[in-house]
C-alpha cells in the first residue's frame, strides 16, 4: 500500500474522450462519402489529387513543426483534413505541382505563419483554393465531365450562368444531377447528398452545431429567392443555388471550421448571415461565378471583430452590474 505513488493534479479527474485527434479524424470521416464519390465520378485522376494533397499537407506540417521546434503534430489529423478539403475544392485534372503549391500555401502560408493550429485567422484550405483560382484561372475553371474517359472538360453550371445566362445554365444539367453529384465541378462540391451524409455524422457526434450552416444556407436561399421572385427570367431559382457550386461544402465543412469561426452563438449567427449574403451577392453580380470561398474568407477576417463585440458586450454588462450593486 505504501508503495503506491500518489500524484496530485487539479479537478476534474475524469475527461471526455474527445481530443484534437478525435475531432479531426471524425471530420475526415465525414468527408469520406464525398471523397469516395469523387473517385467514382472522376476516376483515377481524382484519387491522385486526393493522395497528393493529403501527403503534401502532412509533409509540410512535419517540416514546419521541425523548423519551428514544436512538438510534432503532423499526425494529429488537422493536416489530413486540410489536405482532403483542398482536394475536394479543385478540379480532378489539376497538375500535381499546382496541388503541391496549394498545400504549401495552406499549411505554411496560412496556418504556421500565424502560429499553427488554433491561431490561424483564415481557413487554410480556402486560402489555397483562392490562391490557385487567382494564380491559375484557366486550370481552375475548366471542370472535367463525370465518367469521361479522356478528361473532357466543360464549365460548371454556375460558370455557364455567369457567361451564357440562365437558359444555357438550366439546360446544361438537372437539379437532381446537382443533388446526386453527376455534374461538372470540383471533386467534392458536386454531390449535395454525399456532403449532407457527412455533415449528419458530425451533427450526430456534436462536433459542429447547426447555427452556421443554417444561417448561411438560409440566407443564400432567401436572398436568391427574393430576386428569383422579382425576375425569374434573369435570376436562377434558389434551388439551383442550393445544389450548384461549393455552397454545401462551404457551409458544412469550411464555415464551421472551429478555429476560424466565432465562439458565441450570436456571433455564429452574424458570421453565417455574412457568409450567406456575401455568397449570394458575388454569385448574382460579382465578377466570379462562385462566391462561397471569398465570402467565408472575408467573414473569417471579421471573426476577431465579432468575438470582440460579444466580449465587450458581456464586459459592459458585468461592469453595469458591479456598478449597481
Amino acid at each position: 500500500m505504501d508503495s503506491v505513488n500518489l500524484k496530485v493534479s487539479y479537478a476534474p479527474f475524469i475527461r471526455s474522450k474527445d481530443s484534437i485527434e478525435s475531432v479531426m479524424y471524425n471530420v475526415a470521416l465525414a468527408l469520406a462519402p464525398a471523397t469516395v464519390l469523387s473517385i467514382y465520378l472522376f476516376g483515377m485522376p481524382a484519387l491522385i489529387v486526393n493522395v497528393v494533397c493529403i501527403l503534401s499537407c502532412i509533409a509540410f506540417e512535419w517540416l514546419m513543426d521541425t523548423v519551428r521546434k514544436k512538438p510534432n503534430s503532423c499526425l494529429d489529423g488537422s493536416a489530413l483534413v486540410t489536405g482532403l478539403l483542398i482536394a475536394l475544392n479543385v478540379p480532378a485534372n489539376l497538375p500535381i505541382w499546382m496541388l503541391v503549391v496549394g498545400s504549401f500555401i495552406a499549411i505554411v502560408g496560412t496556418k504556421h505563419v500565424f502560429g499553427g493550429l488554433g491561431y490561424n485567422v483564415f481557413n487554410p484550405a480556402l486560402v489555397a483554393r483562392v490562391f490557385l483560382l487567382i494564380s491559375f484561372p484557366a486550370a481552375m475553371t475548366s471542370w472535367p465531365v463525370p465518367f469521361s474517359v479522356d478528361m473532357e472538360t466543360a464549365a460548371s453550371p454556375l460558370g455557364i450562368l455567369k457567361t451564357d445566362g440562365l437558359e444555357a445554365a438550366m439546360s446544361s444539367f438537372s437539379l437532381m444531377d446537382g443533388f446526386y453529384g453527376t455534374m461538372n465541378g470540383s471533386l467534392g462540391e458536386t454531390s449535395t447528398l454525399a456532403l449532407l451524409a457527412g455533415a449528419a455524422w458530425l451533427f450526430y457526434k456534436r462536433y459542429i452545431t447547426i447555427t452556421i450552416p443554417l444561417t448561411m444556407i438560409g440566407s443564400v436561399f432567401l436572398f436568391t429567392g427574393l430576386f428569383y421572385l422579382l425576375d425569374p427570367t434573369t435570376y436562377a431559382s434558389p434551388m439551383f443555388h442550393m445544389v450548384t457550386g461549393g455552397l454545401m461544402l462551404g457551409a458544412f465543412f469550411m464555415a464551421t471550421d472551429m478555429v476560424t469561426s466565432p465562439l458565441s452563438v450570436r456571433g455564429q449567427i452574424v458570421f453565417g448571415l455574412g457568409c450567406g449574403l456575401l455568397t449570394a451577392i458575388i454569385r448574382l453580380w460579382g465578377g466570379y461565378p462562385e462566391g462561397v470561398s471569398f465570402a467565408i474568407l472575408i467573414m473569417n477576417g471579421f471573426v476577431p471583430l465579432i468575438d470582440r463585440w460579444d466580449l465587450n458586450d458581456r464586459k459592459a454588462k458585468n461592469q453595469k452590474k458591479s456598478e449597481t450593486t
Binding site: N5, L6, K7, V8, S9, Y10
Partner: protein, 279 residues
C-alpha cells in the same frame, strides 16, 4: 506616350504629398507640448526598466516628479548609490544615500533537503500548485519551487535550481517585484551588507514538525539566541529571526546551530565588500 501617363501621376502624387506635409506641419505646431528638457536628461540616466520599485509606474514619471519637486529623499532602488550621485550632480542637489536592498529566499529546502508530498502533475506554477494542495514539498512555508517569481524579475536575476529559486546577488536591484509574486511569502527584502547573517527558513511550525519536513528548518531551539552577544536574534512563533540593524556579523550563531543543514546562512555581497575595501 510616356509623358501622358507620367506627368499626371507624378503631379497628382506630388500634390497629395505637399498637402499632407503642410497639414502635418500645422498639426505639430498646434499640438506641441512644452516639456522640460531636464526630464529627458534625467530619464536617460534612469535604468529605464519601469520596475516600479520607486513607487511610480514608470521611470519617466519618476523623472517628471523629481524635476518638479527636487525632493532629495526620492530614490531609485534599482540604480543604487551611483545613480543617486549622478542624479544629484545633474540637478545640483544632494540626494539622500539610498539603502540598497536585495531579495533573499528564506528557504534552503531544495529537492534533496526538503521532503516531498506527492508528485505534482498540474499547471507548473507556484500559485496553481498551492491551489491544488499544500505544494510539492511537505513544508507549507517553503519555496514551492516552480518559479512563478522568475517571470516578474525585470533584471534576469532569478533562476530555478534543484527545486529552489536562486537569486543572483549582483543582478538583483531590490525592486521588490518578486515579493508579491510568491504565494508562501518566502521571499523577503533585506539590506545589502558586506556580510549578512540570516535564518534561511520560513517555517512557523513547531520544531518537531519542521524537522520532519526538512533537514534545514529552524526548530526554534534557542541556542543561537543564547549565544548572540548583540541581542540581535529573537524567536517569533517558532522561527528565529536576526535583526540586521543589531547584528555585528560575529558568526557565533552559525557555530551553535544544531540542525543537519545549518539553518543560519552567511552571505557575502561581493560588490558591497569591494566598496568597503575601496573606502
Amino acid at each position: 506616350m510616356i509623358s501622358e501617363a507620367f506627368i499626371p501621376a507624378v503631379s497628382s502624387l506630388g500634390a497629395v504629398a505637399l498637402a499632407l506635409g503642410v497639414i502635418i506641419h500645422f498639426v505639430s505646431k498646434k499640438f506641441h507640448v512644452e516639456e522640460d528638457p531636464m526630464v529627458t536628461i534625467i530619464n536617460d540616466i534612469l535604468p529605464g526598466v519601469n520596475c516600479g520599485a520607486c513607487g511610480y509606474p514608470s521611470c519617466n514619471q519618476f523623472a517628471e516628479v523629481l524635476v518638479e519637486t527636487k525632493d532629495s529623499s526620492m530614490s531609485c532602488p534599482a540604480g543604487g548609490s551611483d545613480l543617486a550621485a549622478k542624479l544629484g550632480d545633474t540637478l545640483g542637489i544632494e540626494m539622500a544615500e539610498p539603502k540598497p536592498q536585495i531579495a533573499v529566499l528564506m528557504c534552503q529546502g531544495d529537492n534533496d533537503i526538503a521532503r516531498e508530498t506527492a508528485e505534482y502533475m498540474g499547471i507548473q506554477d507556484c500559485w496553481a500548485a498551492t491551489q491544488a494542495f499544500v505544494g510539492p514539498k511537505q513544508c507549507r512555508y517553503s519555496c514551492v519551487g516552480l518559479g512563478s517569481c522568475i517571470a516578474y524579475c525585470d533584471f534576469d536575476a532569478m533562476r530555478l535550481e534543484n527545486g529552489l529559486v536562486v537569486i543572483d546577488k549582483d543582478k538583483c536591484t531590490g525592486c521588490e517585484a518578486c515579493i508579491a509574486a510568491c504565494p508562501t511569502g518566502v521571499l523577503v527584502m533585506q539590506e545589502k551588507k558586506a556580510e549578512r547573517y540570516f535564518i534561511a527558513c520560513n517555517s512557523h511550525d513547531k520544531g518537531a514538525a519542521t524537522k520532519k519536513a526538512c533537514d534545514a528548518g529552524c526548530i526554534a531551539c534557542q541556542k543561537c539566541v543564547k549565544v548572540c552577544e548583540d541581542d540581535a536574534i529573537v524567536i517569533d512563533n517558532f522561527l528565529a529571526k536576526i535583526d540586521q540593524e543589531k547584528c555585528t556579523a560575529c558568526g557565533k550563531c552559525i557555530e551553535v546551530c544544531p540542525t543537519k543543514v545549518n539553518c543560519i546562512r552567511l552571505e557575502h555581497d561581493l560588490n558591497a565588500v569591494k566598496q568597503k575595501k575601496a573606502s
